[in-house]
């Protein structure tokens, strides 16, 4: 059974000017649709990669999965429970403790005034659990020393801090960890260490990851299924092999072509056209059509639905 089931998920942010300005300047409300009609499922013990450029809504989806934001439309069901609407407090509580999150910036996500021990066991202590010796055990599991439990976050490097964040996420024995750009702030060699640690922990604890990243190579390495987002819409979803070898959506193609390659010596990449449009006024029809090399009339008029094409799900009128 799928651990997470996301249906028609939509999130709209009100980015209007203050009320008085709107009256004086005779402007309406400005609404930013960060996530629009996104559907996907994540199987238990798998890694689902969400990839996209800035403004594609990937972090917003991550925040809605863990309940940091409420959806404007659609639903997120985790273990069959919709956290936004479920009225049975016991059920909500049970599911909540199965979800954890790892954030991008390990400098901002650790309280500088707390000792590492207190940080790591907070998810357990906050629920009144017994945390004796837990921090030491977890720190050793993520490759730090038990002695580090008495230190403060500033005594650690970026990679070590991210390990502390991972230890904290593990402490409540979650099933699902939403990782929002877990290695973007880290150097390449440290990134390799953290990604390897994440793979090991997944096997040891039977975790499910939702991995949010802008880095195609990281997502390719870690994921079982990848969803590509563009302007808040899921445009393609497939396994890494399928996505990288048999790319169907023109946006994914552009993204893969534009990504720097290690053996691309002096390569003259086919340059992407333009930039991501303003999400407050997205283009009509398919959001990618102004930059798409194969766009036709229908792309300007009708928004393509996500449909099964071969082994992938693609939102493109012309994909086959």
């Amino acid at each position: 059974m799928a651990l997470i089931s996301v249906k028609n998920l939509t999130r709209v942010f009100d980015v209007s000017k203050p009320w008085l300005n709107r009256v004086i300047e005779r402007r309406g409300k400005a609404l930013l649709t960060a996530v629009s009609d996104v559907d996907f499922e994540v199987a238990e013990r798998s890694t689902y990669g969400l990839v996209g450029e800035s403004g594609s809504g990937k972090s917003t989806i991550g925040r809605m999965l863990v309940g940091l934001l409420t959806p404007s439309g659609g639903s997120v069901e985790i273990e069959g429970v919709n956290l936004a609407t479920e009225t049975d407090a016991a059920k909500v509580d049970a599911v909540r403790s199965d979800i954890q999150m790892i954030f991008q910036d390990p400098f901002a996500s650790l309280n500088p005034r707390w000792r590492v021990r207190d940080i790591v066991v907070e998810p357990v202590v906050a629920r009144g659990g017994d945390a004796t010796g837990l921090a030491e055990k977890l720190l050793e599991q993520v490759g730090l020393s038990a002695l580090d439990a008495g230190k403060f976050p500033h005594e650690f490097s970026g990679g070590q801090r991210q390990r502390i964040c991972i230890a904290r996420a593990l402490s409540s024995e979650p099933k699902l960890i939403v990782c929002d750009e877990p290695t973007s702030a880290l150097d390449v060699s440290v990134q390799a260490q953290v990604l390897n640690l994440m793979s090991d922990l997944k096997d040891n604890f039977g975790l499910t990851y939702v991995l949010i990243s802008h880095d195609l190579t990281v997502v390719q390495h870690m994921s079982d299924v990848i969803g590509v987002l563009y302007l808040g819409r899921l445009v393609e979803e497939a396994t890494p092999e399928e996505l990288f070898n048999n790319t169907k959506h023109p946006y994914t193609k552009m993204l893969l072509e534009a990504a720097p390659q290690m053996d691309g010596f002096g390569r003259e990449a086919e340059l992407p056209e333009g930039e991501i449009p303003d999400p407050i006024n997205p283009p009509s029809g398919c959001a990618f059509h102004p930059r798409c090399p194969i766009a036709e009339t229908i792309c300007r008029q009708e928004r393509p639905l996500l449909r099964q094409v071969g082994n992938a799900r693609v939102a493109c009128h012309l994909a086959q």
């Binding site: 450029e53 800035s54 490097s157 970026g158 990679g159 070590q160 150097d187 390449v188 060699s189 440290v190 990134q191 390799a192 260490q193 990604l195 390897n196 793979s199 802008h214 880095d215 195609l216 190579t217 990281v218 390719q220 390495h221 552009m254 993204l255 072509e257 534009a258 990504a259 720097p260 390659q261 290690m262 053996d263 691309g264 010596f265 002096g266 390569r267 003259e268 990449a269 340059l271 992407p272 930039e275 991501i276």
Partner: protein, 324 residues
Amino acid sequence: MSDTVLSIRNLSVEIPTRTGVVKPVDGVSYDISAGEILGVVGESGAGKSMAGNAVIGLLNPPAHIAKGEIWLNGSRIDALKGEAMRRLRGKEIGMVFQDPLTSLNPLLSIGDQLTETMLTHLPISRAEANNRAVAALEEVGIPGAAERIDSYPHEFSGGMRQRVVIALALCAEPSLIIADEPTTALDVSVQAQIIALLKRLCRDRGTAVMLITHDMGVIAEAADRVAVMYAGRLAELGRVRDVLTQPQHPYTAGLMASTPLASAGKTRLHQIEGAMPRLDKVPDGCPFHPRCTYAESKCRAAPAPQISQDHAACWFPLMAEKVS
């Protein structure tokens, strides 16, 4: 070489601290020729930006150049101070920083910023500067340059701002551009555009470029030669194809192997154990030896010999067969 634009010889930067002197850059030497892009790659704290800032005289005190020489077009510039350095900056050396929003003045229109730079450094009239500003914006691919010349930085997107910064760096026709992580703040698709732009403009004008980045992929696509830095020292220097496909220094080899790209199809990434030493605790001998799998007693005793054009700073450089 006659067309050498920048020549750094045995450069050391020191920062005196309460507990002793740290050396963020230690005995680094390299040259950049006209029209060449030298990629400087390394992890954070490797000293790559510090070396760039030393060249352009932007070291923050108490950091200072302790040793070594910097030559630009045949004249020595490391001892220049105040006004003399200011004339050089912008005129002979252009600079592109990571964050385009903080490197543009939010209170001046981009046209004003461009003409200000040109009027300061070039003997031209204001009208001529205006014309050149429009031409410069057109050259970096800003649509409707003539209309947008009076726009302010906040009216542009990140990629467009970085294009403006590049126009600004190039408008006084410098012989050297120092680009410090120019695409790190940008999205992949925009990064490709900016790198291509930098490559094209510098090839056309014969501008030398020092491209500082942590991204091996960007180096592979843009640079002609690459300098790999580790803990303030040069680990390896050579043609980009040689260094990336047949690295001689175990650090370069490890760095290459730990990128997810190089490990395609494997379940685990190659990892270099440990982390780069803190600058006040750089080990004796080769700075990489505590993390190096090939290290022997010689490596612990003394740093590897001076790096030359086709040798890594390693006692036991990897041969092709060792890199599997």
